[in-house]
């Protein structure tokens, strides 16, 4: 019964999304406030129905209702409860429902918190959201229904893919979808602005927090996915340039560019056309990502051709939204009036450069991901575009960009002084040089390039701190004044500095892991030992263990440094009966920011096991850097001007107790 209710709720949600698409749009055309007013309550109702449907799917999963095909294929009665929950979206149908749920959630949030938006903008934006919902709800109902029943239910399900039986599945997809789909808000606002043919700085101020929130989720989602792959897949890689990873990286790059260009638009009323285009591109890349992952086209162009129903449907959605939005853009972009002007060397100029490089980097990822598919389609030739390609092109484009990071925020608006900025970065540069020398000395001369890259990371970190220090006047005014000023620095400035600092941290982690990792591969029997990264490992024993739905062989190693015991490290291989599949569970021990990574290979009859141990210096900085970046995003989100919203002449905001908004000045 609950499955039918869930299914029916989806049908009703589709009907509501049709209303949400048509009525407010018509109302905005006719300037009818009643019709436009329909948008908010309808999107909230749609959210309610989609939530109900999603809840229904969760319920059939948690109760292991094996009369539902989707549950049979992806669940098992003996799986731990958390994995019964997470298998809800650990499959195609369920993950599409999660996608629509997040879409409805964002629509609902705009309806709830969009009180200060102009009526027509809000109505049009929600209508565009409605259109996206119509497309994806139709997709689910006609090609990917998660509620399909089977006539003779089996007693037991086929269980969730063992590799997905991990807490990572509880966090990674929802975060990623919050990011992916969150970009639909920026897209919807861009469409609404184009439909209106009017756009101003206030638009950027409304769009920015949504984009920023989506960007924070996307950053965390990608980092989480990277760490998950790192510990679960057993060979310690953290980024593979896999098409599916690229599908999430492209929207991230575009969203990063969008965040930066929206700043220019908000502060200086410039770059309007470009910002609107970026908003369209960012969500288009999300859609392309969804297509790549969901259509089966990645396995092979030919596999896609044999079962094309889903792929063709998503391709249709893709063509409609991307083509439609670009067409509208082409028709209307000319109407958008350009605002403030600026010199090439200025904060605006720096942000234009940022956008240029980020766009080119996105293009590199895009062409690298799609070129093999396109080539196979037109000429039947098969080529591979792997990590070496991306490292050269993407890396080559990112390097100048990250080098420029410390310069941007120190540059003045409109007309900057590059020499002055460089002078203010002297201390940061000096710190970086020291870092290079120290790194080179500590690694015995190591690869010089790597030491320089570490220096670059330090330069970015020091540059971010310089920005804050400059704003507070540290070194120029007394400590007390500087502290007082520090408290007055807007949170968005702190956000910028922290996010940039995160880039530096991440860069250092990447360089250290790729350059100075040590690896030891050996065949070992109980009692053998070896040394890696100053730690001594001794193979103590191998034992059998059982989990809720698996059995495991676990190798236990004793760990010590200079005879000082440091506990054990364990690596194991699990066997999942329900699917007759195995997984490897690597053993990871963290020392400071570095990690010792251990995975276990085959066992021979004479009691030997093959062992691969890797010492990964400062590897955790890669993900910590991403966390710091998103922390910066959160700080920026907490900025006062975003909470207050765009200024509205008619309404005073008495709620703001701290530093009241400039009210009519008291008579002097």
């Amino acid at each position: 019964m609950i499955a039918e209710l869930g299914h029916y709720a989806l049908v009703l949600a589709l009907a509501l999304s049709l209303v949400q698409m048509v009525v407010p749009f018509w109302g905005a055309r006719k300037d009818d406030p009643v019709l436009m007013g329909v948008a908010a309550p309808v999107s909230l109702m749609m959210l309610a129905f989609v939530t109900f449907s999603f809840g229904a799917l969760m319920t059939v999963y948690v109760t292991s209702d094996f009369s539902v095909l989707n549950v049979v294929e992806n669940s098992h009665s003996r799986m731990p409860l958390i994995y019964k929950f997470t298998s809800t979206w650990g499959n195609h149908e369920g993950s599409m429902l999660l996608w629509v749920f997040v879409l409805a959630l964002f629509g609902g949030l705009v309806a709830l918190f969009g009180g200060n938006l102009p009526d027509r903008l809000k109505a049009n934006a929600l209508a565009v959201q409605g259109a996206i919902a119509v497309a994806f709800l139709t997709f689910i109902l006609f090609t990917s229904n998660p509620f399909t029943r089977i006539i003779s239910p089996p007693a037991e399900g086929r269980s969730l893919n063992p590799i997905l039986q991990d807490p990572g599945l509880a966090i990674h997809p929802p975060l990623l979808y919050l990011g992916y789909v969150g970009l639909s808000i920026a897209f919807a606002f861009a469409m609404a602005a184009l439909i209106e043919g009017r756009i101003d700085a206030a638009w950027a101020r409304w769009v920015r927090p949504w984009t920023l929130a989506a960007w924070v989720f996307l950053t965390l989602g990608i980092a989480m996915g990277s760490y998950w792959a790192y510990y679960e897949l057993g060979w310690g890689g953290w980024w593979f340039w896999d098409p599916v990873e690229n599908a999430s990286l492209m929207p991230w790059l575009a969203a990063t560019a969008l965040l930066h260009s929206a700043v220019v638009m908000e502060k200086r009323d410039a770059l309007k056309i470009w910002t609107v285009l970026l908003a369209i591109l960012a969500f288009s890349l999300s859609l392309i990502g969804t297509f790549l992952v969901r259509s089966g086209v990645l396995t092979s162009v030919h596999a896609f051709a044999t079962d094309p129903a889903r792929g063709v449907f998503i391709l249709g959605i893709l063509t409609f939204f991307i083509g439609g939005s670009l067409l509208l853009f082409a028709l209307r972009a000319g109407d958008l009036r350009q605002g403030g002007i600026f010199a090439p060397v200025s904060r605006e100029g720096a942000l234009v450069m940022n956008n240029l490089f980020l766009t080119a980097a996105t293009a590199a990822v895009f062409v690298g991901t799609l070129y093999p598919l396109a080539l196979e389609m037109i000429s039947d030739a098969k080529i591979t575009v792997g990590p070496p390609f991306f490292n050269i092109t993407f890396g080559g484009l990112m390097l100048p960009l990250v080098f420029a990071i410390p310069f941007g925020p120190l540059m003045a608006w409109k007309r900057g002084d590059l020499l002055g900025v460089a002078q203010r970065l002297t201390v940061a540069a000096a710190v970086a040089v020291v870092a290079i020398v120290v790194t080179a000395a500590a690694t015995g001369g190591g690869p010089v390039l790597a030491a320089v890259m570490v220096g670059l990371g330090v330069f970015i970190i020091a540059g971010a701190l310089t920005d804050i220090a400059e704003r507070a006047g540290i070194g120029r005014v007394s400590a007390r004044v500087a502290f007082a000023r520090l408290k007055g620095v807007p949170r968005s400035a702190f956000g910028t500095a922290v996010a940039h600092l995160g880039v530096g941290v991440c860069l250092i982690g990447i360089v250290c892991e790729t350059t100075w990792s040590q690896e030891h591969i050996a065949s070992m029997k109980v009692g053998d030992s070896f040394t890696i990264g100053s730690h001594d490992l001794t193979f103590l024993r191998i034992e059998n263990r059982t989990g809720a739905n698996f059995t495991a062989r676990t190798a236990v190693f004793g760990l010590s440094t200079d005879g000082e015991p440091e506990g054990n490290i364990e690596a194991s291989r699990r066997n999942f009966e329900a699917r007759q599949m195995g997984t490897t569970e690597s053993g990871i021990r963290t020392f400071g920011f570095s990690q010792l990574y251990l995975s276990m290979g085959e066992e021979t009859p004479d009691g030997h096991i093959s062992v691969r141990a890797t010492w990964k210096p400062l590897v955790t900085l890669i993900w910590l850097g991403a966390v710091v970046m998103s922390l910066g995003g959160c700080l920026s989100l907490a900025d006062r001007r975003l909470r207050v919203g765009a200024p509205r002449p008619a309404k005073a905001k008495p709620r703001q107790d701290k530093r009241p908004a400039p009210q009519p000045a008291p008579a002097e």
């Binding site: 650990g90 993950s95 893919n161 590799i163 997905l164 990623l176 990608i222 996915g225 998950w228 792959a229 897949l233 060979w235 593979f240 340039w241 896999d242 098409p243 599916v244 990873e245 599908a247 999430s248 992952v293 990645l298 396995t299 350009q338 403030g340 002007i341 010199a343 090439p344 240029l356 490089f357 766009t359 080119a360 980097a361 293009a363 062409v367 070129y371 030739a381 080529i383 591979t384 575009v385 792997g386 990590p387 070496p388 390609f389 050269i392 484009l397 409109k414 591969i521 050996a522 065949s523 291989r573 007759q580 599949m581 195995g582 995975s599 276990m600 290979g601 085959e602 093959s610 691969r612």
Partner: protein, 168 residues
């Protein structure tokens, strides 16, 4: 979901061969210089039955065969280039993780830089165009009106320079 597909590939392998392990201890060459070259080469070669995995990372039997093959060729004294050429002749360009610089791949290699250059030129043109046309000089009539307004307010136009933009 980001890793589903990669995971599915790994799983496929696990189903067929049982859990295995990338580089096996018995494959490692005794000559460390040759072994290092073999590892570097392995990272440039695709495991043909996997999705986007190098033979260095993959635990598929075919990847193991290729790893051993690479090591055999190196031990026989082949240069890195010769090993790669040999494998391309045998398996096609598909085996290379780094696409060749060929006419067929021209667009692949150049597109990012085309975007960069074209974008840069567009930005430059926009700067030039805007600075010529958009700096709005007041027309003589407007200047006359401005002077009249300022005079009406009891000020003279010459003493107060027009304020440009808002502060901050």
């Amino acid at each position: 979901m980001t890793f589903l597909r990669r995971l599915a590939c790994v799983l496929l392998l696990l189903v067929s061969v049982g859990p295995a392990f990338a580089v096996q201890p018995d494959e490692v060459l005794s000559n460390p210089a040759l072994e290092a070259r073999a590892r570097t080469l392995s990272k440039e070669l695709r495991c043909m039955v996997c999705q986007n995995q190098s033979i260095d990372d993959s635990d598929a039997p075919l990847a193991r065969d290729l790893r051993i093959l690479v090591r055999e060729r190196l031990a026989k004294g082949d240069s890195d280039r010769q090993v790669l050429d040999f494998l391309v002749a045998r398996y096609g360009e598909f085996v290379l993780l780094r696409p060749t610089f060929s006419a067929r791949n021209a667009l692949l290699w150049s597109l990012p830089f085309i975007v960069l250059v074209v974008g840069g030129i567009a930005a430059f043109m926009a700067f030039r165009g805007r600075s010529q046309t958009d700096v709005q000089q007041l027309t003589p009539e407007e200047e006359a009106r401005l002077r009249a307004i300022l005079a009406a307010n009891g000020e003279t136009g010459a003493e107060t320079p027009p304020k440009g933009g808002k502060p901050g």
